[in-house]
């Protein structure tokens, strides 16, 4: 894929509890923002195919969404369009599939769009909908998924991180503090306020050892990217961003098939595949948007992607390495923690951030670029066995 695919436009809406916006409203706004973002302009008819990321269709009561939903909502019925649902990595995987559509040589210009309406239900129920502990085979059989939603699964990892790696609740809280600081500088973030370690630790316990402020919110949102053949990119923009690597990494469906609870093998596999494709090493990356659905998850992500050895992420975080102006800024957008986690929009929102940073258009939250390489990562699904990593660069 390296050298074949370029991002020419990204667009999103401010994430949040968008009670006044329907799924269609959000999709249309993100799409229009994305068209506008193409520097030299684009005729929507040039887009021949689309990949539509949608996770909750049917779960939260919007009815099942398919490729037709996107084609109809953006008034482009000549599109070839598929829906992607791959749990929490849905957004990142939708982007990957769009890139594959271009890299295959079948299409020149395609759209990747992800949208999620989480808050048509109270957040507890919405969270319940998001909490599939059972795998594809066992589904929601009560014998195997009692109370094993996302927070419980990640909290069980956190318990183990504390036990094996000596991590503390303060270590987890520092992730939230950093990401809330970044989010306070991001106009698209769900939460744009700062917090302190004390505030995290004094917030209600959701799932011990995780507090309310260790958990990402339930967020509505939509985000999109237009990708095209790398050799055509300059026709649309002087600042194209190129896709170097894109890989999904997988692991077991059932939590008890997992060998470790301080690492997520799906992320290790996704990162390995993406780095191999890109022909680079973790140290070559300037900054990353990682999947911090829970604060402890970000520490695991940092280690699993290869930015720190197992057990070292917390110290590096404490030393400021992952701050906005640190050695390796992590989640300059505010991450899922502050920026929000509208499942299928999350990954594309991260792509929006990576592209914006690489174009040096991130304003107050702009990170320093050295190699001009950014990384995006998601993880989720039953037993957190699904992950995706995309690596983007300023140079082809």
């Amino acid at each position: 894929m390296k050298g074949k695919v370029a991002v020419i436009g990204v667009g999103m809406i401010k994430f949040g509890e968008l009670f006044d916006k329907s799924l269609e409203n959000m999709i249309q706004e993100a799409y229009l923002n994305c068209l506008k973002n193409v520097e030299k302009g684009i005729d929507p008819k040039e887009i021949k195919a689309a990949w539509f990321g949608q996770w909750s269709g049917g779960f939260i009561g919007q009815g099942a969404q398919g490729g037709q939903s996107l084609a109809s909502m953006i008034g482009n019925l000549n599109l070839s369009c598929s829906r992607i649902e791959n749990a929490c990595p849905t957004g990142g995987d939708t982007f990957r599939n769009a890139c594959l559509g271009v890299a295959s040589g079948v299409y020149d210009v395609v759209l990747a769009l992800g949208a999620e309406k989480m808050r048509d239900k109270p957040s507890a129920e919405s969270l319940g909908g998001a909490g599939g502990g059972g795998g594809a085979e066992t589904g929601n059989h009560p014998s195997w998924m009692m109370g094993q939603g996302g927070p419980a699964i990640q909290a069980m990892h956190a318990t183990r991180q504390m036990h094996e790696l000596g991590y503390t609740m303060e270590d987890f809280a520092r992730v939230a503090v950093k990401n809330h600081h970044n989010g306070s500088l991001c106009p698209y973030a769900h939460y744009q306020f700062e917090i302190t370690v004390e505030r995290v630790l004094n917030s209600p316990v959701i799932c011990w050892p995780l507090h309310l402020f260790d958990c990402c919110p339930q967020t509505d949102g939509a985000a999109a990217a237009i990708v095209c053949r790398a050799d055509l990119a300059k026709k649309y923009t002087d600042k194209p961003v190129y896709v170097w690597g894109s890989h999904t990494g997988l692991d077991h469906n059932q939590l008890w098939d997992r060998s470790s609870f301080v690492s997520q093998p799906s992320v290790v596999r996704a990162a390995k595949g993406a780095f191999e494709m890109a022909g680079i090493k973790p140290k070559d990356v300037d900054f990353a948007e990682l999947h911090d659905c829970f604060t402890n998850t970000e520490l695991m992500d940092i280690e699993d992607v290869g930015f720190a050895r197992s057990g070292e992420a917390a110290k590096k975080l404490k030393d400021g390495e992952f701050d906005m102006h640190g050695k390796l800024p992590i989640n300059p957008s505010g991450g899922l923690k502050a920026h929000g986690h509208p499942i299928a929009a999350t990954g594309l929102g991260q792509i929006f951030e990576v592209v914006t940073q690489l174009r040096e258009e991130a304003d107050k939250r702009q990170v320093k670029l050295k190699n001009g390489i950014g990384l995006q990562q998601n993880v989720g699904g039953p037993a957190f066995g699904a992950a995706v990593v995309n690596i983007l660069s300023r140079s082809r």
Partner: protein, 134 residues
Amino acid sequence: MTQPVPASPMYWRFNTEVHRLVGIKCQDCGHISYPRTKICHECGSQNLKEYKLPQRGTIHTFCVNWAPPPQFEPPILPVIVDLEGGGRYGGIMTECGSPDEIKIGTKVEMVFRRMLTDRGLNVYGYKFRLAEEG
């Protein structure tokens, strides 16, 4: 989301697994999968033998869920248990008076309990309780 109901084929299909804890042990890599499967989840081997999960073990990890799904009274205690003799099982604790009673390494045993009731029809399965000494 519409769930299958207790009288549905999905529940019926898992009767043996749910009531008798039948899984498989891979004869090539030793991985234990539960419920039963025809291809080892770890290595893809088809050289498998049925393996009944042991009903005692120690807590590998756990959490204290104060925000469980609406049908539960908080807190609930999800656990992943390393079973004596091999295999893991994920479940929740029952009869636990206080979250302080469990930690990593606590000995537990499976007990057959009611999991949910749908239109008066009960679904049963295994939970964990603190194991007796000895």
